[in-house]
């Protein structure tokens, strides 16, 4: 052991000893971690933002405690404050983070430790592990997985690189990564999202911490992958005997895994208690609101007046044997580049009846977005037909039109995007953003254009006076309203909504869904609603189509598909959706879908 390392360990021990507390506000003996009046503030140029505002909460040893809240509620900042890794310029200002590593051991106040000193560093990674939301950006793109995991062992357990390698490979196997010897040397971009998150979990657990903090670990994942990761976490928690602090905005996930729940809003704890009490006897108004906003699967909420679903009328859009093939350059390192063909959409046939809402569901990479973009003719389909019935009854095949011939249809088929932040040009005012489609089509200009833009703003529930502002002045929900206004300004007949509510908080999501339903009734719109969120699709769609690897595996009326799914993949998808009721936990069996080998 080098003298440097010895010094470091001595300093760490001394710091921790200095932060050890035994005083008038003792810690609950059954608790592993207890926050007392914790305040974390971001000191910005615009003033101080109290991200964590007088938070007190307790995490029982061996429990799973979920911290729930909408974006901006301070749940992530709370988690990061525990080991003092808050983003710059945030700082833990006051309060205590009491941590008792062993049931009868000393209590350490982590908040009293120097944020960059050896004391807190000896606890990070070794006693408390952290898993983040987006494994792609949370892992370094230029270091191998094995390097990034093994580093912890070399740091905290002083293992040699070869011994660390053995342990890392064992742990990669443990979190369910196949061929761990190969994956040890892989880079993050070579793994799928689920595999990356497994690697991240292996990293957080490699030193066998007593507390694992998981910050939205499944939010970026598909519903079936999410189910696998949740199962994995539950199993590891059991076998390693850890305590889990799980941060999420998804009440369905909470109901599946939590023992205790802490509800946060605006940096404060509004309610905490056992999961059953939170779901079935919520005390605080905000918790009740959150639960009410939840699109519950199985609970029929919106009943649409059946708009001629069974009539033999010609559909607004008939997609016939549509195919979309991409040529991707693949190949080995500096080797010969092969072109690889990817059938993103493979012979899909789908009718979209006028005035209906057709839901298109599937996991990421299944081709649902590609199909949506083909309908918009953002892509030119490789083969197949897009038979569009015009207002005059004439049928046109959009798939074969040239860009110029398409122009009139560009106004009739419009799109609402997923990301309300990325899809609005930050340098254009709202008036310019919404008016642009009309202006480029030469349909309106000057005061007429302004009048129509302002009328549309009111239509989507915003104020006329907001037209002069830039997008950054709006919240996520308001921005999505702007995106909807931009889609509707040309009086379209078909609107493709690609994950239009996926990026929004639950309460805002409900408002946007209500707005979409209202606009459909008033303007006679037809929606192609692309989503990975089955509960939303079940709630608003008349027809549902399920895609899997570019192929349409099942379609039919929504009630029928959800009540009696025919295809194995649909069943697997449905069984993976968390049910937002802790009492139903464990009552359903998870169905896994393995595609039959192609004959």
């Amino acid at each position: 052991m080098s003298w440097r390392r010895r010094n470091l360990e001595r300093d760490a021990a001394r710091e921790i000893a200095a932060a050890t507390v035994d005083d008038d506000r003792p810690m609950d003996p059954g608790a592993l971690l207890e926050l007392q009046n914790l305040c974390t503030t971001f000191h910005t140029d615009e003033g101080a933002v109290h991200a964590v505002d007088d938070v007190s909460l307790r995490i029982r040893r061996g429990s799973t405690t979920c911290i729930v809240g909408e974006s901006g509620s301070g749940k992530s900042a709370t988690a990061r404050s525990i080991i003092q890794v808050v983003d710059h310029p945030g700082r833990v200002d006051s309060g205590r983070v009491l941590y008792r590593p062993s049931p009868d051991g000393a209590v350490v106040d982590l908040a009293a430790l120097d944020a960059t000193g050896p004391g807190i560093r000896s606890i990070r990674g070794r006693d408390i592990g952290l898993v983040f939301q987006e494994p792609m950006s949370s892992l370094s793109p230029v270091h191998t997985i094995g390097d990034q995991i093994g580093e912890l062992l070399e740091l905290h357990e002083r293992l040699s690189p070869s011994a660390a390698r053995e342990r890392v490979i064992d742990d990669l196997r443990r979190v369910g990564i196949p061929r761990p010897e190969e994956r040890f040397g892989a880079y993050t971009f070579q793994l799928s999202g689920g595999m990356r998150q497994r690697a991240m979990i292996a990293m957080a657990l490699v030193c066998r911490p007593s507390l694992l903090i998981a910050d939205e670990p499944t939010t970026a994942l598909d519903v079936t992958t999410q189910a696998q990761i949740l199962d994995l976490l539950a199993e590891l928690k059991q076998s390693l005997g850890m305590t889990l602090m799980f941060i999420t905005h998804d009440l369905g996930v909470v109901a599946e895994i939590a023992d205790d729940v802490v509800v946060m809003r605006h940096g404060k704890v509004v309610e905490q208690g056992p999961v059953d009490q939170i779901f079935h006897d919520p005390q605080h108004e905000y918790t009740q609101e959150l639960l009410a906003a939840l699109p519950q699967r199985g609970a029929v909420t919106v009943t649409e007046p059946e708009p001629a679903a069974a009539e033999p009328e010609r559909p607004l859009l008939r997609i016939e044997d549509l195919e979309m093939t991409f040529e991707a350059a693949a190949g080995t390192l500096f080797g010969r580049r092969r072109t690889e063909r990817v059938n993103a959409v493979d012979k899909v046939t789908l009718d979209i009846p006028e005035g209906s809402t057709v839901g298109l569901v599937g996991e990421s990479g299944c081709g649902k977005t590609t199909l949506g973009r083909c309908v918009l003719r953002a892509y030119r389909p490789t083969a197949g037909k897009l038979l569009y019935s015009g207002a005059d009854g004439r049928v046109t095949d959009l798939a074969r039109l040239s860009e110029k011939e398409l122009l009139p249809y560009r106004r009739q088929v419009r799109m609402v995007f997923q990301d309300p932040y990325g899809s609005l040009n930050p340098r254009m005012t709202v008036r310019q953003v919404i008016g642009e489609p009309l202006r480029v089509a030469g349909l309106a200009s000057g005061s007429e254009l302004d009048g129509r833009v302002e009328a549309m703003l009111e239509r989507v529930g915003l104020k006329r006076a907001m037209a002069g502002r830039y997008p950054h002045a709006f919240s996520g929900g308001e921005r999505q309203r702007i995106g909807i206004a931009r889609a509707l300004i040309t009086e379209p007949r078909l609107v493709v909504a690609d994950e239009a509510v996926s990026a929004l908080d639950v309460s805002v999501r409900t408002q946007i869904l209500e707005l979409l339903a209202e606009l459909q009734g008033d303007l006679g719109l037809t929606y192609l609603f692309i989503s990975h969120d089955l509960s939303v699709v079940e709630r608003i769609c008349d027809q549902v189509a399920v895609m899997y690897f570019g192929v349409m595996v099942e379609q039919g009326p929504a009630e029928q598909v959800f009540a009696d799914p025919q295809h194995g993949y649909t069943r697997a998808l449905l069984s993976a959706v968390p049910v937002a009721d802790p009492r139903e936990r464990g009552t359903r069996s998870r169905v896994a879908y393995e595609p039959e080998p192609v004959a």
Partner: protein
């Protein structure tokens, strides 16, 4: 990997051919040819010219032949015999002239490069980590001043200071007593005493630019989630910063590292001219002024070749260092 290198080298060949043609075309542009210039000069000095020798030279360099013939003679002499032709002004082979000045040029270039990076990278990284502190403001302030001051002015000021404070000879790389002396410890020390002025002058401006870019790149990277992940592992600040964000913030420099190769060769012409350094830059300037076409053409060709090779080196370095480039993901 070898296949990639081979492919890249094959791509380089047509580029080089095109560059050499353009270089030759440009040095041919001025009216007249160097032989007639030479004859005129000799006759003006009252000397007679041997017609047979003139004819031999004419034939040797293809003067009077069409452009393509001249070009082919020029380039094939270079490629096959390493013969860049004769400098008229100096009456010496171009290759000898360049070889004479090459060691000093390289010494200056490499010293400047090392000075620049040794100062700029730590300063830029420090400036980013300590953003909005006095250290950051000081580094940025000095950087802006260094960037804004014209190099020839800085060269003159430093040369004056060297003269006034250290009693150095102004200009050149050596004190007068060492100019023609054989190499030895004394001459080397004398060289170091003179070298610092151009190194500081040329280095400072480059330093300022690199500090700004490093600082901006680092600020982008420092708040990335993977840095928080590294911090949550318990790494010390110093170790995590050098292992993670610095590694990625270096990419733009690595991708342009090869561009320094030609500048090692020609140096900073203006500074070298002001300080009367015996490097290749002033030689090129002189050759261009006096229509010394083989000398100018030879230097331009070498710079062009070094540029192409430098770019190749950059590409290979980047692929070696960033796996995203290697696997075609960035």
């Amino acid at each position: 990997m070898w296949r990639f290198i081979a492919m890249r080298v094959l791509h380089v060949i047509p580029t080089l051919i095109a560059i050499s043609m353009i270089a030759f075309f440009i040095i041919q542009l001025p009216p007249g040819d160097f032989l007639s210039t030479q004859v005129a000069r000799l006759e003006a000095a009252g000397q007679s010219v041997d017609p047979a020798q003139m004819e031999a030279l004419r034939d040797r360099y293809g003067i009077g032949d069409p452009f393509w013939v001249q070009y082919v003679k020029w380039i094939s002499n270079i490629v096959l015999h390493g013969d860049f032709g004769l400098s008229f002004q100096f009456q010496q082979p171009v290759s000898t002239l360049i070889a004479d000045r090459l060691p000093l040029t390289l010494a200056l270039g490499i010293a400047t490069l090392m000075f620049t990076w040794a100062i700029a990278l730590p300063a830029g990284i420090y400036s980013a980590i300590k953003q909005h502190t006095w250290g950051d403001y000081t580094i940025s302030g000095i950087g802006f001043v260094a960037l804004a001051v014209p190099q020839f002015l800085a060269a003159l000021v430093l040369a004056y200071l060297g003269f006034a404070l250290f009693d150095q000879s102004v200009g050149g790389m050596f004190s007068p007593e060492y100019v023609n002396a054989p190499w030895g410890v004394g001459k080397f020390v004398d060289l170091l005493g003179h070298l610092w002025i151009p190194v500081v002058v040329i280095g400072l401006a480059g330093t300022a630019g690199i500090i700004r870019v490093t600082r901006a790149n680092m600020l982008d990277e420092l708040n990335k989630p993977y840095v928080i992940t590294a911090r949550a592992k318990g790494l010390s600040e110093g170790r995590l910063v050098t292992k993670y964000p610095v590694r990625i913030a270096m990419n733009p420099f690595i991708s342009t590292a090869g561009w320094h190769l030609p500048s090692l060769f020609d140096g900073e012409i203006i500074v070298a001219q002001v300080l009367a350094l015996g490097t290749i830059g002033p030689l090129l300037l002189e050759a261009l002024k006096s229509q010394d076409m083989y000398l100018a053409g030879g230097i331009i060709l070498i710079i062009a070749v070094l540029t192409v090779i430098g770019t190749l080196i950059s590409d290979l370095l980047l692929a070696a260092i960033d796996p995203r480039v290697r696997f075609g993901k960035a």
